[in-house]
Subunit: 226 residues, 2 copies
C-alpha cells in the first residue's frame, strides 16, 4: 500500500537539512510497522510524507499504487481524508472545541449524520478512557488527555491506513498499553498501522521495525534502541 | 524549600475539577524527587503551583519559607525568574526565535552580558546534543529537539529549584539518558530537582517518589506504575 521509490526529503534551511535520504521500501496492506530511531533522525519526516502532509524532494511515493506526488493539493487532501488517520506528535487539536467536537472532525466530510458522528466520537473517547472529559474544552485537558483525544480522532473513521507519531509519549505505562490495544484492534480488522515510537514496549509489539538514523532507513529485528 | 500546607486546586470548569486534593508535604533543599501517576491525575497541576505558575484554591504554599500566595504577580514573576527553572510539558518555545535565542531568554533579566549569555546558551545546547542546531528556528526542529531546547532553557541559569514536566516524553532511550545525566549534574551541585515523569528509568533514578492518583498525593517506594 505504501511504496517509496528513492524517496528523500531535504529541508532548504539554510543550512540544508537532509532529513530523509533516498529510500526505497514497501509496506503491504495489513502490516503493523514500528519506526524507531534517535531524536532528530527523520521519523516524523518519513511519516509526514507517507501521510501526504509533505512532499518528497527526491523520488516517487505511491499510495495504493497511485503516484500521489502528481496529484494537486485538493486531491491529496481528499485522499488523506478518506484513507488516512494521523496522530500528530504535537496533537494539533482545536483548542476552543471540546474533546468530542475534536474527535468528530474527520467524519464531517464523510456524509455521516451529526447524531451518529457524535455517538461514534463519544464511543471512541471512552475507548481511550476519556468518556468523562468528552465535554471539556481541549485547552483544559492534561497533556496525556490531549494526546488521547488526538488518538481517538485518528481512529474514529477506522481508517485503512493509520499513522501515529509517538502516540504514547505523554502517557503512563497502563494508559499507553490501552492505546496499544486500540492500535491492535484496528490491525486485527485488516488495516495497516505505522507507529513512530520511542517506547520499547510498542516497538517490541509490532511484526516489523524500521530504524531511522541520520535520515537512513534500515530494516531491523532489534526491538528498540539500547 | 517547598512546603505544601493543605494545598489544593479546583478548576471551576464547569463542571468543577478537583485536580489536586488538599496536600501537606515538604521537599527539602537538595532533594531529587520524581512525581508519577496516571495521565490526568494532577501532576502538572502540582508542578505548576510549585513553580508559581498557578495559585492554589485551598491551603498555603511556602517557597523558601515565604508565603508566596500573598505576593503580587510581579513579585511572583521576579521570584520565579531568579530561583526556578521550568521545563513545560508542551515546551512553550518562541517559535520564531532560534534554539540559542530561546535558551538565552532566562538570563536576560539577570544582568548577564549578551556575549556571555550566548556562550552559556550554546554550551547548554551542546550538553543536550543540539550544538549543531543552535541557529535553527525552533519551529524547524523535531519534537524531541524542541523538548531538549526546553530542557536547556530551564538549566542554563543553574536554578536552585528545577521543575521538569515530563522532560523525556519525546526522546529515545539514549537521549533521555543524557537528559537524566544533566538533571543529576544539577542535583550534585546541591540544587533541588522535581521531575514529573512517565518514564520508569527516571522514576527509578531518584531518591524519593510521589505518586499522584485522582489528585491525591502519596509517598511511594514503588519505582513506577505497573
Ligand atoms: N484549565 C483546566 N480547566 C479544567 N480542568 C483542567 C484544567 N487543566 C487540567 N484540568 C484537568 O485536571 C486534571 C489534572 O490535570 P493535570 O494536567 O494536572 O494532569 P497530569 O497528571 O499532568 O496528566 P498527564 O500525565 O496527562 O500530563 C485532569 O482531569 C485535567 O483534565
Ligand atoms: N521545517 C524544517 N526545516 C528545517 N529542518 C527541519 C524541519 N523539520 C525538521 N527538520 C530537521 O530535520 C531532522 C529530522 O526531523 P524529524 O522531525 O523528522 O525528526 P524525528 O526523528 O521525528 O525526531 P524526534 O524523535 O525528536 O521527534 C531534524 O534534524 C530536524 O531538526
Ligand atoms: Mg518526530
Ligand atoms: Mg501533565
Amino acid at each position: 500500500v505504501i511504496e517509496f521509490d528513492g524517496v528523500g526529503r531535504t529541508y532548504p534551511g539554510p543550512p540544508p537539512v537532509h532529513a530523509l535520504q533516498p529510500t526505497t521500501l514497501t509496506v503491504r496492506k495489513g502490516e503493523f510497522v514500528a519506526v524507531i530511531g534517535p531524536s532528530g533522525s527523520g521519523k516524523s519526516t518519513f511519516l509526514n510524507i507517507t501521510g501526504l502532509l509533505d512532499r518528497p524532494t527526491a523520488g516517487t511515493y505511491r499510495l495504493d499504487g497511485m503516484d500521489v506526488d502528481t496529484l494537486g493539493e485538493s486531491e491529496r487532501t481528499a485522499l488523506r481524508g478518506r484513507r488516512i488517520g494521523f496522530v500528530f506528535q504535537a496533537f494539533h487539536l482545536l483548542s476552543h472545541r471540546t474533546a468530542v467536537e475534536n474527535v468528530m472532525v474527520p467524519m464531517a466530510y464523510a456524509g455521516v449524520a451529526r447524531r451518529k458522528r457524535h455517538r461514534l466520537a463519544l464511543e471512541t473517547l471512552r475507548h481511550v478512557g476519556l468518556g468523562h472529559r468528552a465535554q471539556a474544552m481541549s485547552n483544559q485537558l492534561s497533556g496525556g488527555e490531549r494526546q488521547r483525544v488526538a488518538v481517538a480522532r485518528a481512529l474514529v473513521t477506522r481508517p485503512s491506513l493509520l499513522l501515529c507519531d509517538e502516540p504514547t509519549g505523554n502517557l503512563d505505562t497502563t494508559t499507553a498499553g490501552s492505546v496499544l490495544e486500540l492500535l491492535d484492534g484496528l490491525h486485527r480488522d485488516g488495516q495497516t498501522v505505522v507507529v513512530v515510537t520511542h517506547n520499547p514496549d510498542v516497538a517490541a509489539h509490532t511484526q516489523r521495525r524500521l530504524l531511522i538514523q541520520d535520515g537512513h532507513v534500515h530494516e531491523t529485528t532489534q526491538g528498540a534502541l539500547a
